[in-house]
C-alpha cells in the first residue's frame, strides 16, 4: 500500500439524522456562502469529491463531472466505493451541484499541464491551481481528466479516509485494535470475536472523528470494484426516453427562440424588417442582438417558420470574400516566410541536412472541423426578478452559471444551474464557447417566463468554434545507407495542446517550429485537440520516412522506439492481434499508427481495401491501449470504439470549408458521418502496464487517420497528405510492394 499525506485535504461532518459526509477538499477560502453553510465546518473548502454514508447503510457518491457518455459518473463512484469497501448494490450516484464548492483543482492541474490554459492565466498556474480555479470558476469535464485526476486523487482518497474512520469507530466500540478489524461489503468485521457492524450503524460516531492524516489506498490486487466491467448507471434512463438533456427543459409557459446569426463571423446586425414574421401565429417578439436576430414564439417550429420571414441585413466585413483557399495560401506564405517560434530543437538539424545524402519533403493539410454534437446547441434561461434558473448541456457548469450571471447582471449565487445530460460534448461545450449561452441569456432577459433557445442543425454547424485547419510541412534527411538523420517540421498554429507535434522516435536532429495560423474563424478544443491534426501529420510522415529507409513501417517504428517500452508493447500487441505480416485477403492492406496523448498510449492497425468504385473500405481496426490500468474495462472499450469512429468520420469525410467568409456546409448530407454500414469491426486490447492512469475520452481518436492513409499508401501507392480521404481519387493507383 502506498501512503499519501493529505491531512488538510480531507474533511468530515455529521449529517442531520445520523450520517456522515466525508470529502476531499483543498483549503482555499471560498467566497461561496452556500458552500460554507452546506459543509458546516470552520473555514471553507473546495471539495472535489464527497460521499455520504447514511444510517440505512446507503452510500451516495457526489460526482463533480458531467456525464456525456464517457461513463464518468459510474467510474468515479467505483473508485470511491472500492476504497471504502462499500457494497456496490448500496451505492447511489449523484451529480454534485454546480457550486464552486466542487471546483476541481486536480482537473485544473491536468488542464494546465496538458491542454494549456488561456494565456492571461499563464503566470498563475505555477502559483496555485486553486487560484486558477477561482478565477476560471471551473467545474470542467474535458481533457480526459476526470478519472485520472478527480478519481485518482480525490475519489479514492475520500473513500479510503471514510473506511479508516469507520474501522476506528468500530474498534473503539469493541475495545479492540483497529488493525484486527477488516471491512467488506459496507461492514466492519472483527473476525476474532465474530462481531460486525454496518457502516450505517457507525456513521454517526464516525462523524465525530478527526479525518485521518494519510489514508492508505489499496493495491490493485485488493480491488473489489475497480477493474470490473460494471454497468453504467446512466444507461437505463437513456433507453426509455426519460434521460433529460439540456434541450429537454420544458414547462407549460415556456417560450422558444430561433436565431439567425451574422453568416460571416464577427459581423454586426444592421437592420431588421420583421413585419411579416410578427403576424405569424404564436410569435411573441423579435429580439435584435449585436450579431443576430431572434424570433421568440410559443413553439420552436413556429419560431423557425417565422424567422424565414424576417429580413435582416448584416454589416459588410473585411472577411466577406475569404475562402479556404485564401486561408491555406496565407498558411503557405507564413510557412515559407516566417521563422516562427521554437517548439523543439534537438541536435544540429541544419548541419544534418547539409551533409545528407538524400532529403524527402512533404506538405500536409487538414481542414476545419465542426463538433456536430447530436444534441444541437441550446440553452434555457428563466429570469425572475433578481434571480434565474438555467438549463443547458455543458462541460463546465460553473463557468456557464457565472457567464449567465454576468451577462444578465445577476449575482452568481442567484443563478440556479439544473444539471442535464449532454447529447455529446467533444469540446464544443467547454468554457469560452459562449455563443448560444450569451444569446439565450440576452433573449430571456426580455421575458419573465423560461425561454429555450435552440440552434438549428445548420446554425449549429455554421456557428461552431472549429477544430483549427492546419498546414504542416516536413523534411527528413538520410545518409547513404538510408538511415534517417534529421526531422524538420514547420506548421501553423495556434498551439492548443503543447507537445502534440513532437515525436517519440529516436531521431538525433530535430527542428520543430510553429508559425502564426490565426484567422477570423473561431476555434476551440475538438476531441483530442491538437493531436487530431498532428498525429495524422507525424504518423504519416514517419511512414514516408520508413518507406524511404527501405524498412517495413512496423519494424521501423519498433527500432526507433527502443526508449519507449510502452509504445513498443502496444505496437506488439496490436500487430499480433491484427496478424501483421501474415497473409491478407487479396486487395487488402494494413496501415499502422501509434500515439501517446492525455497519458495513454494507443496503437491502431487498420485493414483497408477499395470497393468497385475505388472508394476505401475500412474493414477492421485493431487497437491496443495502455491507459495504465482500466478502472472500468467496458467503459475503456466503449471509449476506444467511440474515439476511433469519431476520428474515422473526420478522416474519411470531415471538412468544413470557408466560402465568402462563411461556412459552406449546412447539415449532415454535406458533413457526412460514419454510420452503421461504414463502421469497421473494432478489436480492442487493453494493455495494463500498471503505470499512472491515462485519459480515455480522447486518446483513441488521434491515430486512426494516419493508420488508414498509411494502409491506402500500401494499397495504392498514393500518399494522402490532405484530409478528408473522400476528396482523393484512387482509380489510377498502383500498389506498393510489401516490405
Amino acid at each position: 500500500m502506498k501512503k499519501i499525506s493529505r491531512r488538510r485535504f480531507i474533511l468530515s461532518t455529521a449529517l442531520v439524522g445520523g450520517g456522515v459526509l466525508i470529502g476531499y477538499a483543498a483549503t482555499r477560502p471560498s467566497r461561496h456562502r452556500r458552500a460554507n453553510q452546506e459543509l458546516a465546518v470552520d473555514g471553507a473548502h473546495y471539495v472535489t469529491s464527497f460521499l455520504k454514508i447514511e444510517p440505512n447503510n446507503e452510500v451516495t457518491v457526489y460526482v463533480p463531472h458531467a456525464e456525456m457518455g464517457q461513463g464518468v459518473h459510474t467510474s468515479l463512484s467505483m473508485m470511491a466505493a472500492d476504497e471504502l469497501d462499500a457494497d456496490w448494490e448500496l451505492v447511489n450516484i449523484e451529480q454534485a451541484p454546480a457550486i464552486d464548492l466542487f471546483a476541481n483543482g486536480d482537473v485544473i492541474k491536468g488542464f494546465a499541464s496538458e491542454l494549456g490554459v488561456p494565456s492571461f492565466l499563464d503566470g498563475l498556474v505555477a502559483v496555485s491551481a486553486f487560484k486558477v480555479a477561482e478565477i476560471m470558476n471551473l467545474q470542467i469535464t474535458g481533457g480526459s481528466t476526470s478519472v485520472r485526476y478527480t478519481g485518482e486523487f480525490a475519489m479514492r482518497t475520500a473513500g479510503a479516509a471514510a473506511r479508516q474512520m469507520l474501522i476506528d469507530c468500530a474498534a473503539t466500540r469493541w475495545g479492540v485494535a483497529a488493525d484486527t478489524c477488516s471491512t467488506q461489503l459496507s461492514h466492519v468485521h472483527h473476525n476474532a470475536s465474530g462481531r460486525s457492524l454496518s457502516y450505517g450503524e457507525l456513521a454517526a460516531a464516525a462523524a465525530l472523528l478527526e479525518p485521518p492524516d494519510s489514508p492508505r489506498l489499496k493495491d490493485r490486487s485488493q480491488f473489489n470494484i475497480m477493474g470490473k466491467a460494471i454497468s453504467r448507471n446512466d444507461i437505463p434512463a437513456k433507453v426509455d426516453g426519460s434521460a433529460k438533456y439540456g434541450i429537454d427543459a420544458h414547462s407549460e409557459d415556456m417560450l422558444y427562440a430561433a436565431i439567425r446569426f451574422a453568416p460571416v463571423f464577427g459581423t454586426k446586425l444592421v437592420s431588421v424588417d420583421a413585419t411579416e414574421a410578427l403576424r405569424q401565429r404564436g410569435v411573441q417578439r423579435i429580439v435584435e442582438l449585436e450579431d443576430s436576430v431572434a424570433v421568440v414564439a410559443d413553439n420552436y417550429w413556429r419560431a423557425k417558420q417565422a424567422l424565414k420571414l424576417v429580413h435582416a441585413e448584416f454589416a459588410a466585413s473585411d472577411h466577406d470574400t475569404v475562402s479556404s483557399a485564401d486561408i491555406f495560401a496565407r498558411f503557405d506564405r507564413a510557412l515559407a516566410e516566417d521563422k516562427g517560434s521554437k517548439v523543439l530543437e534537438l541536435g544540429d538539424t541544419e548541419a544534418a541536412f547539409a551533409e545528407a545524402d538524400d532529403v524527402i519533403e512533404a506538405g500536409y493539410r487538414v481542414p476545419y472541423l465542426a463538433h456536430a454534437t447530436m444534441e444541437p446547441m441550446n440553452c434555457t434561461v428563466h429570469i425572475h426578478g433578481d434571480s434565474a434558473d438555467l438549463w443547458t448541456s455543458t462541460q463546465d457548469a460553473l463557468g456557464i452559471k457565472g457567464r449567465v450571471a454576468s451577462v444578465a447582471g445577476l449575482d452568481e449565487d442567484a443563478v440556479t444551474f439544473h444539471h442535464c445530460y449532454l447529447g455529446g460534448g467533444f469540446g464544443r461545450r467547454l468554457p469560452f464557447n459562449w455563443n448560444v449561452i450569451d444569446h439565450a441569456t440576452l433573449i430571456a432577459m426580455e421575458f419573465d417566463v423560461p425561454v429555450k433557445t435552440v440552434l438549428s442543425r445548420e446554425d449549429d454547424m455554421q456557428q461552431d468554434y472549429y477544430r483549427p485547419a492546419v498546414a504542416s510541412n516536413f523534411k527528413a534527411a538520410f545518409d547513404a545507407q538510408g538511415k534517417v538523420l534529421a526531422w524538420h517540421n514547420r506548421f501553423t498554429g495556434p498551439i492548443q495542446t503543447p507537445g502534440a507535434s513532437e515525436i517519440p522516435y529516436a531521431i538525433a536532429n530535430q527542428s520543430i517550429r510553429v508559425v502564426d495560423g490565426d484567422t477570423h474563424i473561431p476555434i476551440a478544443s475538438w476531441r483530442s485537440v491538437d493531436h487530431s491534426q498532428h498525429t495524422f501529420f507525424t504518423e504519416s510522415f514517419i511512414d514516408e520516412v520508413a518507406h524511404r529507409s527501405g524498412k517495413n513501417p512496423y519494424q521501423f517504428r519498433m527500432e526507433l522506439l527502443q526508449a519507449h517500452p510502452r509504445h513498443l508493447r502496444v505496437l506488439e500487441v496490436a500487430a499480433e492481434a491484427a496478424g501483421y505480416g501474415q497473409n491478407l485477403a487479396e486487395g487488402h492492406a494494413l496501415g499502422i499508427a501509434v500515439q501517446e496523448s492525455f497519458g495513454s498510449i494507443v496503437a491502431e492497425i487498420v485493414e483497408v481495401s477499395l470497393d468497385g468504385d475505388y472508394r476505401p473500405i475500412v474493414h477492421k481496426v485493431t487497437c491496443a491501449i495502455d491507459c495504465g490500468w482500466a478502472v472500468n474495462p467496458d467503459t475503456v472499450e466503449a471509449q476506444v470504439e467511440s474515439g476511433i469512429i469519431f476520428g474515422l468520420t473526420a478522416a474519411l469525410y470531415g471538412e468544413i470549408t470557408i466560402e465568402n467568409g462563411r461556412v459552406a456546409q449546412h447539415n449532415f448530407p454535406d458533413y457526412e458521418m460514419v454510420r452503421l454500414a461504414t463502421t469497421p469491426e473494432i478489436d480492442v486490447h487493453i494493455v495494463e502496464s500498471g503505470e499512472s492512469l491515462g485519459g480515455m475520452g480522447e486518446p483513441a481518436t488521434p491515430p486512426i487517420a494516419a493508420a488508414v492513409t498509411n494502409a491506402l499508401y500500401i494499397l495504392t501507392g498514393q500518399r494522402v497528405r490532405e484530409l478528408p480521404i473522400k476528396n482523393h481519387d484512387f482509380s489510377r493507383a498502383t500498389p506498393v510492394a510489401q516490405i
Partner: protein, 157 residues
C-alpha cells in the same frame, strides 16, 4: 384540430396541419424522449412509430398522421407489455441496449431503438446487409459496434 393517438392516448391539438410531428410531441405535448437532431430526416434521432412503422417525425407533418397510432420511446415498453401495440415485444430491444451497454451520450438512442424495433418487427432475423440498409441513424459517439451486437443478439434470441 389535429387528432391522433400517442402511446394509446387520444390527443386533440389545435395546431397547424403542417407542423412536424416532432414539434407537436416535444413542444405541445412536452414529450421530450423523441429528439431533434437535424430537421431534414438525415440523422434519425426523431424516429417514432406510426402504426408500428418507423418514420422520421421531423419531416412528418401532423396532417399525415391524422387518426393514426403513434408510439414514442416513452410508450415502447408499455406497448410491448400490453401486447396490444401494433408491434409487440419491443421492450426486448431496450433490455438488449442495457445488456450490451449500447448508449454513450444517449441522445440518438431513442431514435435508434425505435428504428431497430421497427426493423426487427418486419424482419426478425436481418442479415448484416439488411441491418446496414435498415439502420441509417447517426450516432456521433460511435455506439455502432454495440448496436450491431445488440441487434444480432435480439435476432438470434
Amino acid at each position: 384540430m389535429v387528432n391522433f393517438k400517442v402511446n394509446g392516448v387520444e390527443q386533440h391539438l389545435d395546431i397547424e396541419p403542417d407542423m412536424p410531428l416532432l414539434w407537436a410531441l416535444r413542444d405541445e405535448l412536452g414529450m421530450t424522449g423523441t429528439k431533434f437532431g437535424c430537421g431534414i430526416a438525415a440523422c434519425g434521432a426523431c424516429t417514432v412509430h406510426v402504426n408500428g412503422r418507423a418514420v422520421r417525425s421531423c419531416v412528418t407533418p401532423v396532417s399525415e398522421v391524422e387518426g393514426q397510432e403513434i408510439t414514442t420511446i416513452e410508450g415502447l415498453a408499455s406497448a410491448a407489455a400490453e401486447g396490444n401495440a401494433p408491434v409487440p415485444g419491443l421492450a426486448a430491444v431496450q433490455q438488449a441496449w442495457i445488456d450490451h451497454q449500447v448508449p454513450q451520450c444517449g441522445y440518438c438512442q431513442s431514435g435508434m431503438i425505435m428504428a431497430v424495433s421497427s426493423l426487427l418487427a418486419s424482419n426478425p432475423n436481418p442479415s448484416d446487409a439488411e441491418i446496414d440498409r435498415g439502420i441509417t441513424n447517426i450516432c456521433r459517439c460511435g455506439s455502432y459496434p454495440r448496436v450491431r451486437k445488440a441487434i444480432r443478439a435480439l435476432a438470434t434470441a
